[in-house]
């Protein structure tokens, strides 16, 4: 009689158990592993880490041209194209003709050095910064004759550097632009205010002009907003088009009051708004201003408030109780408000309502100044011996545009790099997020654009650098804010056990038990064999 384990059924049973176990281990486990894996497309992590170091090198082309009488011909350093500057031009005419000499591409500067005795600039002014990309630098008295090239250049270098800091970029500007990454610890408190005031770089902005008429019974206001925008604002926006897109709209709000009551000042027989109460003006009005529901671009609001007949004229006083010339104020990253008094246009006792035509040139002058401030165009005041030409009809000098482009490029590059690196870190940390192909593609294109932007900044092609940096930031934002990247799948380990045990345990227990049984039978057989042998 054979041992119990020799019977065919037992053998069949053992084979069945073994084959099932084999199937589970060889086919089942890999299949389960593969099907529960999250799809993660490949990301260029090495390049991202390389970019994270962010070594930026900015170079601006500066051409220094020596006018006759400042340097001997051997001392000329760069392209020797000069014209005689002897005539008594007015300074701005000279600037214009100099500009026609060499049309400089954006990002570069031309500095013309003029002799000490030149009458182009007034007495106490050493540097004149023109509307376009030129500057006039008056050479010092000690450099008259007999100095070597080296000494001349050594004398000029700090002056040229100073001009560069005003016209292109300075250390403070770049640090402010990098405020995302660099913990901005400024020694200059003015620059904190500057960095808080200007809007962050964004691909588009929306500008809304609103006319607030709290008293339609007394005033019928007419403003030619379309013409004013076309004539005064649009040139600036067209010039700024490489930096961002702008969309404009306008509205008129009736019965919109300011939230504060102005004080009556009998000495001036006018109503006064203190600087302290200005902070509470905006909020009640803001609830009534609409915004474009379709876009997520930052909104700049410009409000023109015409006080009602009972509270006219209304003046704004600053912190020192002086009257403000422009009668306007602005709020950082929000917009500006101007108070326009119309009581001068009619006599008391006329039949209400009175038709009033608003002087759009005055209004737009103030709004344009506020717009420049809010977009970050304005810089800190230049040193005292500098004279800056007033900006032209477009409201923006070329070098101011360059300045803005420099800081925007740096800001875009820094922001895009931070976004990409934090995205890579996030995806690394959380293993459960699915990385689709389109995200990987956006990340790759962002990395490529960033590398190109950094290269262009090194060379000094400002236009291309800005364009690449804009592409980089668009791609990186798209990748970071993709709706599919939700890390909702946070499963603590005990929850994972709770999910898998009811599925796998009932199946695994019989297999394990039968395997154990086989192993114990084999062992027993071997022991018996040993016993038989002995």
């Amino acid at each position: 009689m054979g041992a119990p384990w020799r019977t065919p059924e037992r053998r069949r049973g053992k084979l069945a158990a073994l084959s099932i176990a084999a199937m589970v281990i060889l086919v089942g486990v890999p299949l389960w592993w593969k099907t529960t894996q999250t799809y993660r497309a490949w990301l260029p992590v090495a390049q991202i880490n390389e970019l994270a170091k962010l070594q930026l090198q900015l170079s601006a082309d500066v051409e220094v041209v020596f006018a006759r009488g400042t340097a001997t011909p051997e001392q000329q350093k760069k392209v020797p194209v000069t014209q005689t500057q002897d005539e008594d031009h007015a300074v701005d005419e000279a600037d214009l003709s100099l500009h026609r000499l060499s049309e400089s591409p954006c990002g570069s500067l031309v500095i013309y050095v003029i002799p000490e005795s030149s009458s182009l600039l007034p007495e106490n002014v050493n540097v004149y910064i023109g509307q376009r990309r030129t500057a006039l630098l008056r050479i010092g008295a000690q450099m008259k004759v007999g100095k070597t090239l080296k000494q001349l250049l050594a004398h000029l270098e700090p002056r040229v550097k100073q001009i560069l800091q005003v016209m292109s970029f300075s250390h403070n500007d770049i640090t402010a632009a990098l405020s995302d990454r660099v913990r901005f610890s400024p020694d200059n408190k003015e620059s904190i205010a500057d960095s808080m005031r200007a809007f962050k770089s964004s691909p588009g902005y929306e500008i809304t002009f609103s006319l607030l008429n709290p008293d339609p019974k007394s005033h019928r206001l007419h403003w030619d907003i379309e013409g004013a925008v076309q004539t005064y604002i649009q040139p600036l926006l067209t010039k700024l088009s490489p930096v961002a897109n702008f969309s404009l709209d306008s509205q008129i709000l009736y019965y919109a009051m300011l939230g504060v009551n102005p004080r009556y000042d009998s000495s001036r027989s006018a109503y006064i708004l203190n600087a302290d109460s200005l902070a509470h003006v905006i909020n009640p009005v803001e609830a009534r201003l609409g915004s474009n529901a379709a876009s997520s671009n930052p909104v700049l609001n410009f409000l023109l408030y015409v006080p009602d007949a009972h509270h006219s004229p209304l003046y704004i006083h600053d912190h020192k109780k002086r009257e403000v010339q422009t009668n306007a104020f602005h709020s950082p990253r929000w917009g500006g408000i101007m108070v326009y008094n119309v009581n001068g246009f009619y006599q008391t006792g006329t039949n209400f309502p009175v038709d009033v035509n608003i002087n759009m040139a005055k209004v737009m002058g103030v709004f344009l100044a506020q717009l420049r401030l809010l977009l970050g165009v304005q810089s800190t005041a230049p040193p005292s011996s500098f004279q800056v030409a007033p900006c032209g009809s477009s409201g923006l000098a070329d070098w101011e545009l360059d300045r803005l482009m420099w800081s925007r490029s740096v800001e875009n590059v820094a922001t895009a790099t931070t976004t990409i690196t934090s995205l890579a870190q996030l995806l690394d940390q959380i293993g459960n997020i699915v990385i689709n192909d389109n995200i990987a593609q956006q990340v790759s294109s962002a990395v490529t654009s960033l590398q190109l932007a950094v290269a262009e900044l090194e060379v000094g092609n400002l236009g291309f650098a800005l364009q690449y940096s804009k592409e980089a930031i668009l791609a990186s934002e798209k990748a970071f804010f993709d709706p599919s990247l939700l890390h909702l799948l946070y499963f603590p380990d005990d929850q994972k056990f709770a999910i898998y045990i009811p599925l796998f345990l009932p199946m695994c227990v019989p297999i394990l038990l039968s395997l154990l049984k086989i192993v114990s039978e084999v062992r027993q057989r071997r022991r018996e064999k040993q016993a038989k042998k002995d």
């Binding site: 915004s291 970071f480 709706p483």
Partner: protein, 382 residues
């Protein structure tokens, strides 16, 4: 002696420097924010959770009163109490007994209502990962200079908060969401208030900078509700939020009360639970943080000193709009797939095996039949 004089000079210098700074730059340096946002979430549904909706709406009212506009508030209410069938006074939500204060009113702007309030939507709002079709009012469009107030209320436990009675958000997920907000610089400072049972567990895991958190109860304690109203039949408010609101009633847009007073709101004698707070991640000293930095919206103001002299007259717009611009015939995209509805062919429905209930029912019937009449009758069936 020298050191003393040096020290005195140094302190004198810094004092004068700071005084000058105060004069010249005004209120810029009391806080680094330029705008305020609020995300107010009520996570529970059903009529007996009336008090959570009333909590959230009361905080919404206070925040609006102190100046934050609707465009900067994301209000998420998981259920509609005002129009609930069991509400004896429809279109109202009261927060005081004897129906003193209706916090619903007619200018409440709810951004996420009913079943839209989910953990996923909440996290999407915080991190900004919303689908491109989301309108502006449903987005949190904050930047690096925004102070955000986040208020959560509902039922919670040790480390989680229950959403809609069916899902939950854990404190790890919340901390990760805040970290992602910090990475993308979506806030300058963030105040997190939670009014649930064991609320302190929700802020245990925070690790991003500039976060301040308040909770209504510690781990192991329950937050209790304040008072029932016999006419409405449910509890109207939770204790912590009730006393928080009492505190906020005294705040007006120009007040200078700071956060240390907020921490003292609702002591154990009034609240029965022990409110907690966490400030170790916050960079500024809480004593220098104004309540209105988070609950209100006090704008920074600068006087415009310059103007640009514009001398060109306004260009007359030429009448060329008729000739140049091609008037396109715009049409609406099909709002309803009308053609599909009208010309619909009957859909080929996939065959599904019969439902369990039907199957069970038939099995029961067959069993009973064969039990009664014996198995030999099977031949009549087949």
């Amino acid at each position: 002696m020298k050191i003393l004089t040096l020290l005195s000079f140094f302190t004198a210098y810094t004092l004068t420097a700071s005084v000058n700074i105060e004069d010249s730059a005004g209120q810029f340096f009391s806080s680094g924010h330029t705008n305020n946002w609020a995300v107010l979430v009520c996570t529970s549904r059903f009529w007996f959770n009336y008090r959570h909706v009333a909590n959230t709406l009361s905080v919404y009212r206070s925040v609006k009163r102190l100046g934050i506009p609707d465009s900067h508030i994301v209000l998420m209410l998981a259920d509609d109490m005002a129009c609930n069938h069991r509400n004896p006074k429809p279109a109202t939500v009261f927060s005081h007994k004897n129906m003193e204060l209706n916090v619903y009113g007619d200018d409440v702007e709810v951004d996420y209502r009913g079943y839209e309030v989910t953990v996923e939507n909440f996290l999407r709002v915080l991190t900004g990962r919303l689908p491109p079709s989301t309108p502006r009012s449903k987005r949190l469009l904050s930047d690096d200079r925004s102070n955000i107030l986040i208020y959560l209320t509902g039922h919670g436990g040790n480390g989680f908060l229950k959403f809609q009675d069916s899902e939950e958000i854990s404190n790890v997920e919340l901390a990760d969401a805040f970290e992602q907000m910090w990475q993308k610089r979506r806030y300058n400072e963030l105040l997190f208030i939670i009014d649930t049972c064991q609320g302190a567990s929700m802020y245990e895991r925070f690790y991003s900078p500039n976060l301040m958190a308040l909770a209504s109860s510690q781990v192991g304690e329950d937050s209790l509700s304040h008072q029932p109203d016999l006419a409405i039949g449910v509890h109207l408010m939770d204790r912590y939020t009730f006393y928080l609101l009492e505190f906020l009633e005294d705040i007006h847009p120009a007040s200078k009360t700071n956060m240390n007073d907020l921490f003292k709101v609702c002591p154990k004698s009034q609240c029965v639970s022990t409110p907690g707070h966490r400030t170790d991640l916050f960079l500024r000293d809480p004593g220098s943080v104004l309540i209105t930095d988070f609950f209100g919206s006090v704008r920074k103001i600068e006087i415009t000193m310059e103007t640009i002299n514009l001398t060109d007259p306004i260009k007359q717009m030429e009448e060329n709009s008729g000739n140049d611009v091609q008037t396109e015939n715009n049409t609406y995209v099909d709002q309803l797939p009308v053609s599909e509805i009208i010309h619909q062919k009957p859909k080929q429905r996939d065959w599904h095996p019969p439902d369990g209930f039907i199957l069970g029912l038939w099995t029961l019937i067959l069993l009973v039949f064969f039990k009664t009449y014996g198995v030999k009758h099977l031949k009549h069936v087949f």
